[in-house]
């Protein structure tokens, strides 16, 4: 058995193509402590149960109430141990052993142990929990029995002593440390879950930097500082109030008046230019990348998209620069499935350049030189219909008449999940945003054979058994020292996918977080890749002390 311990983390981070990481998240020594902030949202907070919550709004709120074995260094994608103090990975990459931090307490005062870690993951896998995160744990031994409700827990998770927990996997899984950092593996206390039942999501109790103070349904959620937080010095703020039910436009007006600190839903598109043209307001906007790609899927089951030349032609026909302008440059043009900030992004790959003539020639080669008529499905909220119209015009220029079907989100998703449901879909509003910063996360459900099933998310129904095998190979490289090799394998996989062109990648959205003048902390906290809109544990205000 090879021992990596804490020092490996730095190696792991390096090997994953990221900068070096410390063994534990260190609070910013310049940060001021105290004060409170107000963040607004339009929609209700659905739930704060880490086993259930899976939208971008509650995702980072849950991260502040709960902790997992692993986490990321603030503002980066570097993995660091969190509730774990250290870990070891066996040589075959199939056994992960975590040593827990001693003295970590839940908000109810009880000390967290290895039993809680096991309970929390057993709970997510248990079908009665109806967790959307169940499938993330599929590589753990005994998952199938537990997921089907035939076993009481996942047999591959063993409590060795109160501060040691071991996971046995059925296959080497390079993404396992990321899985230990996602919300679904965050640790919950059994007694509180049993006390509240399905209402645990409204009465969350975790080990996080904040604890729930008040929840007035439909009005506000208040987080209070957890004075007993194991990572001393965090969080910096005494309280965060999330005000619910505020339209983004109203939130912006209130921000301008100094009544709130961060509009959680961002800058409303209609006001974006106005804000960016005003130097005073622009200074309060932080821009950053996002693990997001917007794409057009082409269903390979529906002629003429069964012909690779037609799919390539579509790739060449779309003028991505112009589409980006349509949304006020809130994105950058894309040429491959992975976003630029994702490890494994093929920097040297050029993709299909915009070339309507060549596209036409390809259509002629494919035998549809006279063009054809098809349907382009799109979600019906702004800016997506506008973007679809831009794509429609580009396609019309090479003779493809695409009729726009603008539907509610759920209906587009339903059409995409049918074998011959939607010839083309613009992914906007439903596009893939990574669950964790690893290249594999853009493959399985949306481009792999596993997702090309009824009700799946692989809307192009592209299935390449060869690439599936390569993906499996890449993910079995668990040794952090070989991570660079693994990332390159993933790069190759995505470049090969682009040869078959089941997608036309269009752009990667940028993030724009606006904040009040009193907010402090590095810009990267406001465009944290894992915490949207901001990293609540690490931001602070300047007008205290």
């Amino acid at each position: 058995m090879k021992t990596y311990l804490a020092s490996t983390v730095a190696v792991a981070a390096l090997a994953f193509g990221l900068s070096a990481a410390s063994a534990q998240v260190v609070p910013d020594p310049d940060a001021k402590n105290g004060g409170s902030i107000i963040i607004t949202y339009k929609d209700d907070v659905a739930t704060l149960d880490p086993a259930i919550g899976y939208d971008w709004q509650n995702w980072s709120m849950i991260k502040s109430l709960f902790d997992g074995l692993m986490d990321y260094e603030p503002g980066t994608t570097n993995l660091v141990p969190d509730l774990a103090e250290s870990y070891t990975i066996s040589e075959d990459g199939q056994t992960f052993t975590f040593k827990l931090r001693a003295g970590v307490k839940f908000h109810n005062g009880r000390e967290m142990t290895a039993e809680d870690v096991k309970y929390s993951i057993d709970r997510v896998v248990n079908p009665q929990t109806q967790s959307p995160g169940q499938g993330f744990f599929a590589s753990i031994k005994g998952y199938d029995e537990a997921a089907e409700g035939k076993a009481d827990g996942v047999s591959g998770i063993t409590v060795i002593d109160p501060l040691t927990v071991q996971f046995e996997l059925t296959r080497p899984d390079a993404t396992f440390l990321h899985v230990m950092a996602i919300n679904f593996s965050h640790v919950v206390p059994k007694e509180e879950v049993e006390k509240h039942g399905p209402d645990f999501g409204k009465n969350p109790v975790g080990t996080g930097a904040f604890k729930l103070g008040e929840w007035a349904l439909g009005q506000r959620v208040v987080f209070e500082k957890n004075a007993d937080y194991w990572n001393k010095g965090l969080p910096h703020l005494d309280a965060i109030t999330f005000e619910i039910g505020q339209e983004p436009i109203v939130a912006l007006l209130r921000l301008q008046k100094g009544e709130i600190d961060i509009p959680g839903d961002g800058i409303p598109p209609a006001k974006f230019q106005e804000v960016m043209n005003d130097p005073e307001q622009k200074a309060r906007v932080v821009e950053g990348g996002q693990l997001h790609t917007g794409y057009v899927t082409m269903n390979v089951n529906i002629p003429p998209f069964d012909n690779v030349k037609v799919r390539q032609a579509v790739n060449m026909a779309i003028n991505k620069e112009r589409i980006v302008q349509l949304i006020n440059n809130r994105a950058v043009p894309a040429n491959q499935p992975l976003p630029p900030s994702m490890p494994g992004y093929a920097k040297d790959y050029q993709g299909y350049a915009y070339d309507a003539e060549k596209a036409k020639a390809l259509l002629t080669e494919a035998g549809v030189g006279d063009g054809f008529e098809t349907d382009l499905y799109v979600m019906n909220t702004d800016p997506n219909p506008r973007i679809a119209q831009g794509i429609q015009q580009d396609l019309a220029a090479i003779g493809i008449k695409a009729n726009i079907q603008a539907l509610a989100q759920a209906n587009v998703i339903a059409a995409g999940g049918e074998k011959e449901g939607a010839p083309m879909i613009w992914s906007g509003g439903m596009a893939w945003i990574a669950d964790f910063p690893d290249p594999s996360n853009f493959y399985g459900p949306i481009l792999g054979c596993g997702g090309a099933v009824p009700g799946g998310w692989n809307w192009s129904w592209y299935c390449n058994a060869d690439l599936d095998k390569k993906a499996e190979e890449a993910d079995s490289i668990v040794d952090p020292a070989k991570a660079e090799e693994r990332n390159e394998m993933w790069s190759d996989i995505y470049v090969k996918i682009m040869e078959d062109a089941p997608w036309a990648p269009v752009f990667n959205e940028q993030r724009f977080t606006m904040k009040s003048t009193r907010m402090g902390g590095g810009d990267n906290l406001y465009v944290d890749p894992v915490h949207i809109p901001v990293n609540y544990d690490h931001v602070y205000v300047n007008d205290v002390q």
């Binding site: 929609d43 739930t47 499938g135 209906n411």
Partner: protein, 306 residues
């Protein structure tokens, strides 16, 4: 009266049953799959099927509807698919806000609408009448979203007289209530005007005037009580319309009522919430109408309920 009430209550129950059946059927026929919303994009087909089975959504329509009705009879509206909380709890938490906004809106629309209607009727055919009717027409036609944002911009942002959205104090209530009232007061003004004109033509009004009573006395004591009758029936209907129709206003002002709740639920295909709010709104409409019917004979003895 009693037998009339009994009949109306039975009718109301049938109406509610019908509404529940139609809504349930429409939601059942929706191409969107609620289970996929719950399961999220990372779920395997096995997870999706397991959730579908547990929620009973794999059952035929009639079985699903039967189960829903059976729970409903026991006062159970089910649990939200997305929030996992009890729907009744979510509605009860938001009902006071909607009722408050409704009350505020009704007060405003009566104040504005009735005043405009009476003035227009008294000055029938004059410029005042015409311009009031144009204003009421604009009020009726203006989209609430626009009116709301306009009021918000002028009175909250520019003048700073009221808070920009939110809930809690009387000053929070003014702008949203006024926004709702702008539309309905137009209806009230038109209704009041024509009803008032009818009444003013009656002989007893001429008699009263001939007796030498002051104009205001004739108008408020003699004409108004008769002219206001159709308005009362309208308030009853209005309660229902407001109950289901203030979705937009609640969104603009961040008012934590049931309109906002159902709007979010529709976007997430959260069927138990959509059903629950629809039924509560339907109940309000039915009760509002019933109330109007009961009150009418108390005000006007000529009306007899049979």
């Amino acid at each position: 009266m009693i037998s009339y009430l009994g009949r109306r209550i039975i009718q109301s129950i049938l109406i509610l049953l019908g509404i529940s059946l139609i809504t349930f059927a429409l939601l059942y026929l929706l191409p969107a799959d609620p289970v996929r919303q719950i399961a999220g994009r990372s779920a395997t087909p096995a997870t999706v099927e397991s959730i579908r089975r547990q929620l009973g959504l794999d059952q035929p329509f009639l079985v699903q509807y039967g189960r829903y009705l059976w729970s409903l009879l026991q006062g159970d509206l089910g649990r939200s698919y997305i929030q996992r909380s009890e729907v009744s709890q979510l509605i009860v938490a938001r009902l006071p806000a909607t009722l408050l906004l409704m009350l505020g809106a009704i007060v405003f629309e009566l104040l504005i609408g009735l005043t405009m209607g009476i003035v227009a009727a008294v000055r029938r055919g004059t410029r005042t009448d015409q311009s009031l009717m144009v204003v009421s027409f604009i009020g009726v036609s203006a989209p609430q979203f626009v009116v709301g944002l306009l009021l918000l911009y002028v009175f909250a942002v520019k003048l700073g007289w009221f808070p920009i959205g939110g809930y809690g104090t009387f000053s929070h209530l003014v702008l949203p209530a006024l926004t709702v009232a702008v539309m309905s007061s137009g209806w009230y003004a038109r209704m009041m005007r024509s009803s008032m004109i009818d009444v003013l033509r009656q002989d007893y009004i001429r008699t009263a005037r001939a007796k030498g009573l002051a104009r205001a006395t004739v108008l408020l004591r003699h004409a108004l009580p008769n002219a206001i009758l159709p308005i009362i029936a309208m308030i009853g209907i209005d309660i229902g319309i407001l109950m289901g129709g203030i979705v937009v206003v609640e969104s603009v002002f961040g008012w934590p009522g049931i309109g906002q709740l159902v709007w979010q639920a529709i976007q997430r295909v959260d069927i138990p919430i959509i059903m629950g709010v629809t039924l509560v709104s339907a109940l309000a409409i039915v009760l509002g109408n019933l109330l109007a019917d009961i009150i009418a004979p108390l005000i006007d003895p000529r009306i007899k309920l049979r």
